[in-house]
């Protein structure tokens, strides 16, 4: 039972001052084993705050991140799953699921976590699953102003993943979940 937090596109301090208080009250250290951050934090203070929630943190570079040492893409293995992270502004058209699928096949991962569109998405194709946790602060994106703050918590347990989607809608936290299994024979398509 491994809990992995996926979030990104906070745009602190340029577009948002902080995470919504209701999210912040839920995010306490000690519960989460890994953090995956798609990018655009943008400053060191946010990095340090997330690091305090969990020491194992993986960040990729968004176009507004002030730390230029973040990588463009990252892959890691958690349990039986291979995860890939990329901010997504590099993949054109932005948010296009076929292009993201191509990136996923390139990285050869089961789950690809990307951001940039500030819209939550969970999409399945033959190569695997693409998850976009949206923007954790609800910051406006290049595409739209109408953004609900959201992030994702994945519970990886053997071959099964339960994805809990946390969204702030009209000031209330709404939680949904998505279940999917990796069949033992499913590999990223070659």
């Amino acid at each position: 039972m491994v809990l992995v937090l996926a979030l990104g596109d906070l745009h602190i301090p340029h577009r948002a001052p902080d995470l919504p208080p209701k999210f912040k009250s839920m995010l306490v250290p000690g519960k989460i084993q890994h953090i995956i951050c798609t990018g655009n934090l943008c400053i060191k203070e946010v990095h340090d705050y997330l690091k305090s929630l969990c020491p194992d943190m993986h960040v990729t570079r968004g176009e507004y991140d002030e730390d230029s040492r973040y990588l463009e893409t990252k892959t890691l293995t958690i349990g039986q799953f291979k995860l890939g992270v990329c901010h997504g502004h590099q993949v054109i058209p932005w948010g296009d699921l076929d292009s993201l699928a191509m990136l996923q096949r390139q990285l050869d991962v089961d789950i690809l976590v990307t951001g940039h569109t500030h819209q939550f998405k969970a999409y399945k194709h033959e190569g695997g699953v693409v998850i976009n946790p949206g923007s954790a602060t609800g910051a406006y994106s290049s595409i739209t102003y109408d953004v609900n703050p959201s992030f994702v918590l994945m519970d990886i347990d053997g071959l099964r993943v339960v994805v809990y989607v946390y969204e702030l809608i009209d000031g209330e936290v709404k939680v949904d979940k998505i279940d999917f299994k990796k069949t033992a024979t499913t590999n990223s398509a070659h």
Partner: protein, 437 residues
């Protein structure tokens, strides 16, 4: 206040039991003294000043099963009464309906190690096994399955719990094999998600329990580091540790009032050791379940010592320590005065560990098993017996205590010297006769 003389029997040379030939064998019997239980028979050859003869006993590393042979062919001065007691115990145990009073009487003199009956006797003494032999198998089956049920219920992590709940409500899990498309979102049940802060949330409870589980884990790893049975890299040691851990976790979850307190692992260890080393294979395999129930039973008399809020109450540890102090005052006023008033050795400094851990830390493992024989079998109950034994411990080293100051006395009592256990138990027994007189 009438000055109480030190009773004659305390001054007898019964003090100095002769050292027994114990060097070569493990799990040596303690009672190879030449003198018989009837006092005072000055049989002992001249021995050095107290402390009484030291019986060197290494912690028992191999199973007692192995040492059965050792014990029998080594010390030929295993008194005949020992063998007869073993025969009597076996006879009692093989009856159809066991007379517990008789069993108590026999067991309080000590259960011979070689016979492999300690496990059964303890289970009877703690009321785990019914007295009617015929009911044993059904009772055991019932209790063991109950424990299994506890484990399943309480040791599951929230992921598994939600998965099981999910399975029962929505049996469809095949649409995932479809080609591609947006993954469908589903409602969560009862607001259950991992970051939930609700009091009733299984996730929240799980994270709160993690602290206790970590504590239990640490203590289990530290239990008896010198014994291969409990510590080491062997797979059997690991399974034993897992068993201890499971028992303590189940106990903590079933008893939210008292949860886990450091020291419970020490009380658990001898029980588990004895039950796991039962010569009967089936019993040894179910040692974990049996130990759980016997642990609950044993702890029930001493629970209040572990509850911090009860420390100052009538049932708490402080009051028990006071009772010990009173007992000492009654039987040996001079020593009491010297200890508490002259040298100001507050009994809390040494008796706390003696009482809460039931003397498991004061003697080596084999000796504490023998002490527990008496503790569990005495009809007066373990609490009273424990106090008497503690009092006897003090009286046995009285000469050193009377001669010492605060530092040396405290040092002595916190590292109690090894001693002839049967003698200790004998003295403790005498204290009972005196206080009722």
């Amino acid at each position: 206040m009438v000055k109480k003389r030190v009773p004659d029997w305390l001054n007898s040379s019964l003090w100095s039991a002769s050292p027994s030939a114990t060097e070569d064998d493990r799990l040596q019997r303690y009672d190879s003294k030449p003198s018989t239980p009837t006092p005072p028979s000055p049989v002992a050859p001249p021995v050095p000043e107290p402390p009484p003869a030291v019986v060197q006993e290494e912690p028992p590393k191999p199973e007692p099963k192995e040492s059965v042979n050792n014990v029998h062919d080594a010390s030929s001065d295993d008194s005949a009464e020992d063998i007869s007691r073993q025969a009597q115990l076996l006879a009692e145990l093989s009856k159809k309906v066991i007379n517990v009073r008789e069993l108590r009487r026999l067991a309080s003199q000590g259960i011979p190690d070689g016979a492999g009956i300690r496990s059964t006797v303890w289970k009877l003494l703690l009321g785990y096994l019914p007295t009617d032999r015929g009911h044993w198998s059904s009772e055991l089956a019932k209790k063991r399955s109950q424990y299994k049920h506890f484990k399943e219920e309480l040791l599951m992590n929230p992921s598994e719990i939600t998965r099981r709940l999910g399975k029962s409500t929505s049996p469809d899990d095949e649409p995932k094999s479809e080609g591609s498309g947006m993954l469908s979102r589903s409602e969560i049940t009862h607001g259950e998600h991992p970051l939930s802060l609700g009091k009733t949330s299984i996730w929240n409870q799980f994270f709160q329990d993690t602290e206790i589980i970590e504590q239990i884990d640490r203590d289990v790893k530290r239990t008896h580091p010198d014994m291969n049975f409990f510590s080491g890299d062997t797979p059997s040691a690991k399974t034993n540790q897992d068993a201890l851990r499971n028992i303590l976790i189940v106990f903590a979850k079933l008893n939210p009032g008292i949860r886990y307190v450091q020291g419970m692992n020490e009380i658990l260890a001898p029980l588990f050791y004895v039950f796991k080393n039962d010569p009967d294979e089936e019993n040894a395999a179910s040692a974990e379940a049996d130990t759980f129930f016997c642990f609950v039973e044993l702890l029930s008399g001493f629970r209040d010592h572990f509850c911090q809020q009860l420390d100052n109450s009538v049932v708490g540890i402080r009051s028990t320590i006071t009772r010990l102090s009173q007992l000492l005052k009654e039987h040996d006023g001079e020593l009491w005065r010297h200890l508490e008033i002259t040298t100001k050795v507050n009994p809390q400094f040494y008796a706390f560990r003696w009482i809460t851990l039931l003397l498991t830390q004061e003697f080596n493992f084999a000796d504490s098993l023998h002490i527990w024989d008496t503790l569990l079998s005495d009809p007066e109950g373990p609490q009273e017996t424990l106090l008497r034994i503690c009092c006897a411990m003090l009286i046995l080293v009285r000469r050193r205590l009377l001669a010492g100051d605060f530092t040396s006395n405290l040092k002595l009592l916190q590292n109690y010297p090894s001693t002839n256990i049967s003698h200790l138990l004998y003295v403790a027994n005498k204290l009972r006769a005196q206080s009722t007189g």
